[in-house]
Assembly symmetry: C3
Homo-oligomer: 91 residues x 3
């Protein structure tokens, strides 16, 4: 007899959880910020990953080091900027 109650409760759990979870998933957002520094290197704030770098002197040759630090490779680079993103739960 108890297993019908179990099943009933499990069904209730499953249906109400599914709708709740799907509605809550959209709370996970992308959060991005930019940081800049003089010279050829700059690092993202803690918790962020670099998604791209920009450089002074019109330089398009860069690389990302250790997942969150931008390095501009051209000579005499006056500034370096990093675009930094992470996921964030909102609301």
């Amino acid at each position: 007899q108890s297993c019908t109650i179990d099943n009933a409760i499990n069904l209730m759990i499953k249906s109400s959880t599914e709708s709740l979870v799907s509605s809550v998933l959209s709370k996970v957002k992308l959060d991005c910020t930019s940081v800049s520094a003089r010279g050829a290197d700059v690092s993202c704030p803690s918790g962020y990953l670099a998604t791209a770098c920009a450089c002074g002197m019109a330089c398009g040759s860069w690389d990302i080091r250790g997942d969150a630090a931008c390095h501009c490779q051209c000579a005499n680079i006056d500034w370096t900027s990093a675009r930094c993103c992470k996921t964030r739960v909102v609301g």
Copy 2:
């Protein structure tokens, strides 16, 4: 007597919710698109954030304004492109 039923139900809820939630989390995906425009500026579609910019004239000096707009800084820029991303719940 009721608290043992409460505990039993709570245990049922906890175990089935955990497995459901973990399986559903992978529905949160990254969604990216590119937009381009003539001139030195272009904005991402609503809801997207800019993760990088590309510029004509081999220019690698750009910045992101207001989280979703690319600006290419070199002179006589003929086109600007933005790479735009957001999170999206699939399925």
Copy 3:
């Protein structure tokens, strides 16, 4: 009489699920990696999307093809690099 039990169970489900779900959402993280290749083209590993490209020869003119492949547009490009990201459920 049964509907009061239903309501009680539903309330239990709702409250415990909400707290669990919110705590679990933060398990969805951004995961990024970089790939490079000789020449003017490189593709992200499967499952990743390109968020930006870098090019040799100081070139800042690039485009992303098919969501995950970088193409550097300047002449005589010696290397191309792609920054590739996706969401990942941790823990």
